[in-house]
């Protein structure tokens, strides 16, 4: 590695103090401090690299945000709140997050679905509790669920979860590897089916089908698409193991940022990277909006493909294949529209089973699979049918006393929604919020106007305004379709986190294994960079990963 100049403060001519300098040298610069950028930076900083991470917002965290949008006095986890991979994420173990005071709560009642007639279905940590709730509607389905989950849990813990943190394999190699075990073969069979087929094949009751379909597809799977069926066991199993980070999701970002700083890394907030500098085809650093330059032969971007390759670089100087693949990139087919509220009382659902009020997530608005599919079809077509919408809600203050600074409860109701809605969000926003509140009040009769102190809507457009890299409100930086997954995410040339441009790496949700707070892209990018630079890794694969490597890769 080239000799780097020491960081020196730059005195300001008219003031008594020095500032961070206009030009500085680094071993690696990371663009974007979402979960993935932070993870990459933290691993590399501790590996001894001199690391700078640049964040556009005034606070690190990206999707890990706990902020006072119900201003003044109430904090909300406005983006990621359900942490699906806490059981497996290497960063949590490698950085000993417990030492940082991070405590994840895994509520027993994970998800409830409530229906107009007071009926309900539950998805719980314990398979047996879920089966009990299914028995109300179908003994056959209850038994089927129990049987399926025993296998699916193995598919998840032995294959899908560890593979999240191991570089993507080409489909052929993957198929060959999976032949080695029964569960591997079972997994391969699922891949070729659509979520709808999988659910319909195994379950007969329509409510149970709707419930499991929601849980399988809520993060953006097309229910009718084939080639991604392995997500069904993954998301149902993880849907039974969602965690809430006590004190709010931002605590994870805080802990990671402390790891970076403790290891000598520098965090620069409130600065957009506006350009990735290149010389003779290799990356030489980045430029910040306020005119500062960070020199580095390694630049790692956590942003979406368009921003990284087209906005921050000269599109016309890219290799043609790369340029074409970025142009072909599809953003998420649906986004979220969320209504956050402060209420005097916590939501109380009109439901025979009173336990529902304690559910981490509560789905309502849908009485049948048909209605659910109709909502999703509408969303894809840019529409919302105000009479037939639904989604999921969480009462955050029920889990976390730290979010409220004044007496009251905070909750949100989130639904799948199109970015490009007919008529535009500015115009349609208010009526849709009213319709959502009305729907909520129907499911939980105490969520009436008198009970609601403050309400705030975050539309897909708002998501994009907060995070320009979540283009079109893409919470995963790009759709989950077979040709955008695995070693095709974001394209064949970049899915191993390096790119055809020397020194440029990718670490965000648009790369393998994808979006949500998986910690996968960030971890894999750190591994890739460490390997390319010949830096000794201070971390080891988790035991689940070791077992996977032994079974399938050696």
């Amino acid at each position: 590695m080239k000799q780097k100049r020491e960081l020196v403060g730059q005195p300001h001519p008219q003031c008594f103090f020095s500032e961070f300098p206009a030009e500085s040298d680094w071993d690696a610069v990371i663009i974007g401090a979402g979960p993935n950028g932070l993870i990459t930076a933290a691993y590399l900083a501790r590996a001894g690299l001199r690391v700078a991470i640049v964040e556009r917002r005034y606070e690190v965290g990206g999707g890990l945000a706990t902020e006072e949008i119900l201003y003044p006095g109430f904090y909300s986890n406005m983006h990621a709140i359900y942490h699906l991979m806490v059981d497996f994420m290497p960063a949590i173990k490698d950085f000993d997050m417990e030492r940082h005071g991070l405590v994840w709560i895994k509520p027993n009642l994970q998800t409830a679905m409530v229906f107009g007639d007071g009926g309900s279905l539950l998805l719980t940590r314990m398979i047996e509790d879920t089966m009990d709730s299914f028995h109300k509607y179908s003994d056959k389905d209850a038994v089927a669920f129990g049987k399926l989950m025993r296998n699916w849990r193995r598919i998840v813990s032995e294959i899908l979860a560890p593979a999240t943190y191991i570089p993507a394999m080409p489909p052929i190699d993957l198929t060959v590897a999976m032949q080695r075990t029964d569960i591997g073969r079972e997994m391969l069979e699922l891949v070729e089916q659509s979520p709808l087929d999988i659910i319909n094949n195994h379950f007969e009751n329509d409510r149970i089908r709707a419930f499991l379909l929601y849980i399988s597809c809520m993060w953006g799977l097309d229910p009718r698409e084939t080639g991604i069926g392995f997500y069904v066991p993954l998301l149902i199993d993880r849907g039974m193991n969602k965690c809430y980070l006590h004190g709010g999701s931002h605590k994870l970002a805080g802990a990671l940022s402390r790891e970076i700083v403790r290891a000598g890394g520098t965090i620069l907030e409130s600065s957009d990277v506006i350009k990735i500098n290149r010389h003779n085809g290799s990356v030489t650093g980045v430029e910040l909006m306020e005119g500062r330059t960070l020199n580095s032969d390694v630049v790692i971007s956590s942003l979406d493909p368009h921003t990284t390759f087209f906005d921050l670089m000269d599109k016309n100087k890219l290799p043609t294949d790369l340029k074409d693949s970025v142009e072909r990139w599809k953003y998420d087919k649906w986004s979220f529209n969320t209504v956050h509220v402060v209420s005097k009382e916590a939501p109380h659902y009109a439901c025979e089973d009173q336990w529902v009020d304690e559910s981490f997530m509560t789905i309502f608005g849908f009485e049948s699979t048909k209605q659910l599919l109709a909502h999703w079809d509408n969303v894809v077509a840019g529409k919302i049918d105000k009479n037939s919408l639904g989604g999921h809600a969480t009462c955050e203050s029920f889990l976390d006393s730290h979010l409220v600074r004044k007496p009251g409860h905070i909750s949100f109701f989130q639904m799948h929604a199109p970015y490009g809605i007919d008529g535009g969000w500015d115009k349609r926003g208010p009526e849709i919020m009213e319709a959502m509140l009305a729907k909520w009040a129907k499911a939980a009769p105490n969520m009436k106007r008198e009970n609601i102190v403050m309400a705030k809507q975050e539309t897909p457009k708002d998501i994009e305004i907060r995070f320009p890299n979540m283009r079109r409100g893409s919470i995963k930086h790009g759709d989950y379709t077979p040709i955008q997954m695995g070693c095709f995410r974001p394209n064949e040339a970049c899915s191993n986190h390096s790119t055809p441009i020397k020194g440029l790496y990718l670490c965000g949700a648009s790369t393998y294994p994808g979006g949500l707070v998986l910690g996968g892209p960030g971890y894999l990018a750190a591994n890739r960079v460490a390997e390319d630079l010949g830096v000794k890794k201070w971390w080891k694969p988790t035991k689940e990963m070791e077992r996977y490597i032994k079974t399938y890769l050696t």
């Binding site: 020095s18 961070f20 006072e68 005071g101």
Partner: protein
């Protein structure tokens, strides 16, 4: 998980002052644990984005701390500290400036400027501005054996040395108005300065507060910059650099960890106990060397320690500390178009298209009679304002002024304006009740009317939303701001220097309880503002007590007088203080 932990130092409250203290002590090599109640550190030094793409500063805004030794000692630039130098904000002192009065603009005359330059130490070569600021804010109160007089008070020493023709014993008796009458020219300029002092914690009309009041205004303006300036990432960006300095030196930081009790054994503070719902396994955290309370003085003594360890007379005096003053009603306006200044207030350089030339008014600066009318209304009557909004005094910082290239609104088609802030009665003493100002629709409208005296298009067509915050809400949001008081207790002569907060507590120690120190704006000289001053001053005391042993980077205040029988905080080497 281990249920108990041990550090050298446990600090309660990660606001500006707790964090500065943590950074200093961690840099001394001590193991430090910083405990914060809220989900985010920073206390009143914060930014939030309640509407996508619209960022506001609910509390602190401008960087008053330019003269702090902390910049050098803590090397904040290393931790990403940057300023947001708006090109237009760097106005040399010699350009035209105007004050707004009901009748329109009043030009600041050369006599005003020269007089101001003289009293703030800008006329000598080299200027003594920085010494004056440091003497006023960055020096611990003298030990009790030192008699306080015109020869020992630090700022008096500075004048005597650098501007002897200004030095007179009367400086210690004067109000800021007296001082300004002596050196300045136009009434609106004086009224303006007095009003800024009033909202900065040292009242323009209080006897004996002339120099602290003057400095409270002057410290916001680095000498060559005649306008307040903000750090990049706003005041929270400055905070981040401080926090990261502490972390880089090993401080352990925990959010969502409210402290419920300071554990006292044998008259010594030995640790703290967290509230049950703290997001941390260990509920007791032990301190080998010191517990430092960087939260409001009232809960510190009344709730976290209590009568078991403190004498009831002392507790009564803590209870009696006034919360009066410093309660602000804050508004931000989200608008469709930029605010347009009424023609009579448009300065010659004003261009509607150039938002930077709208700096936000301080209004009305007509006369000191009007100033007193406002003061009486707020401090005297202690009831909801009855003064018509046309005559109510307020200040405003137009957000966009602070945005060289990172505008506070990145939401297409909208502008964020503010904060506009107005001094209002402290809720605790409001005769109409604590919640009297909670009718926010009404008070937002009052604020809007007041601002509309200067701005012509602040009407319902233009306004998308008004974000108002009452003092009660500031208190809820940030428990450090009791009564919403942003400088913590009123800052008159008996709340300044050796009297703050009570004479026996003025040296940051707590008599009768060893190992307990105070480091909050409400509990320590010099009080409010993000100055890195309480932490720096406290360092002297901790060195005296043998707790902190700083390295070569440390220098003591040149006006500091060591306490007899203690270790001197002056290092045994030539001082590296740079005096300009």
């Amino acid at each position: 998980m281990n249920k108990e932990e041990r550090y050298d130092i446990v600090i309660i409250g990660a606001g500006h002052n707790g964090t500065t203290t943590a950074a200093y002590l961690a840099k001394c090599g001590l193991s430090v644990c910083l405990l914060e109640e809220r989900p985010e550190c920073g206390g009143a030094q914060e930014t939030c984005e309640p509407i996508a793409g619209v960022r506001i500063q609910p509390h602190a805004i401008a960087n008053y701390g330019g003269s702090a030794p902390g910049w050098e000692q803590l090397e904040l630039w290393k931790y990403g500290f940057r300023m947001d130098w708006k090109a237009g904000a760097i106005v040399p002192f010699n350009t035209d400036r105007y004050m707004t009065t009901t009748d329109g603009l009043s030009k600041v005359t050369d006599k005003d400027k020269m007089g101001y330059a003289k009293i703030t130490g800008l006329l000598t070569d080299p200027p003594f501005f920085k010494d004056l600021m440091r003497a006023t804010f960055w020096c611990p109160p003298h030990p009790p054996h030192v008699e306080l007089n015109e020869n020992t008070i630090p700022f008096m020493q500075v004048y005597k040395q650098h501007q002897p023709d200004m030095w007179t014993r009367e400086l210690l008796e004067w109000t800021m108005f007296d001082l300004m009458d002596e050196y300045l020219d136009t009434e609106p300029f004086k009224v303006n300065q007095a009003w800024i002092a009033l909202v900065s914690g040292a009242h323009g009309h209080m006897e004996g507060a002339a120099i602290p009041a003057l400095c409270s205004v002057a410290t916001v303006m680095p000498p060559a910059v005649a306008m307040p300036v903000a750090p990049r990432g706003n005041i929270h960006g400055y905070y981040h650099a401080l926090l990261r300095c502490a972390i880089a030196h090993g401080a352990v930081v925990r959010t969502c960890c409210p402290v419920e009790e300071i554990i006292i054994e044998h008259d010594r503070a030995v640790g703290v106990r967290l509230r049950d719902d703290a997001t941390w396994g260990a509920k007791k955290i032990w301190a080998n060397k010191a517990v430092i309370s960087a939260v409001h003085i009232k809960p510190t003594f009344l709730e976290m320690i209590g009568p078991r360890h403190l004498d009831s007379g002392f507790l009564q005096r803590i209870k009696d500390l006034s919360l009066k003053g410093g309660s602000l009603y804050m508004t931000h306006y989200l608008t469709r178009e930029r605010l347009r200044v009424r023609p009579k207030f448009q300065t010659p350089g004003y261009r509607y298209e150039d938002y930077g030339s709208f700096t936000g008014p301080f209004f009305p600066n007509d006369s000191r009679e009007l100033y007193f009318e406002n003061v009486t209304e707020v401090m005297g009557h202690q009831r909801n304002l009855t003064i018509p909004p046309e005559r109510a005094m307020y200040g405003m910082v137009a957000s966009e002024t602070y945005a060289e290239c990172h505008p506070q609104s990145t939401r297409p088609g909208v502008y964020i304006n503010g904060p506009q802030w107005m001094l209002v009665p402290t809720p605790e003493y409001n005769v109409d009740g604590m919640d009297a100002m909670e009718d926010k629709v009404k008070w937002n409208e009052y604020m809007r009317k007041a601002l509309s005296q200067v701005v012509e298009n602040l009407d319902s067509d233009n306004i998308i939303q008004i974000l108002g915050e009452s003092p009660r809400e500031q208190e809820f949001r940030n428990t450090g701001m009791l009564g919403g008081s942003w400088y913590g207790l009123r800052c008159d002569r008996d709340q300044w220097w050796n009297e703050r907060p009570l004479p026996e507590l003025a040296r940051y120690r707590v008599p009768g309880i060893d190992g307990l120190y105070l480091s909050h704006q409400s509990s320590a000289h010099p009080g409010g503002l993000c100055l890195m001053a309480v932490g720096y001053n406290l360092m002297h005391i901790l060195i005296e007590d043998g707790i902190a042993e700083p390295g070569d980077w440390w220098y003591a205040s040149p006006w500091y007088i060591p306490e007899e029988g203690k270790i001197s905080a002056i290092p045994n080497r030539p001082s590296s203080v740079s005096t300009r």
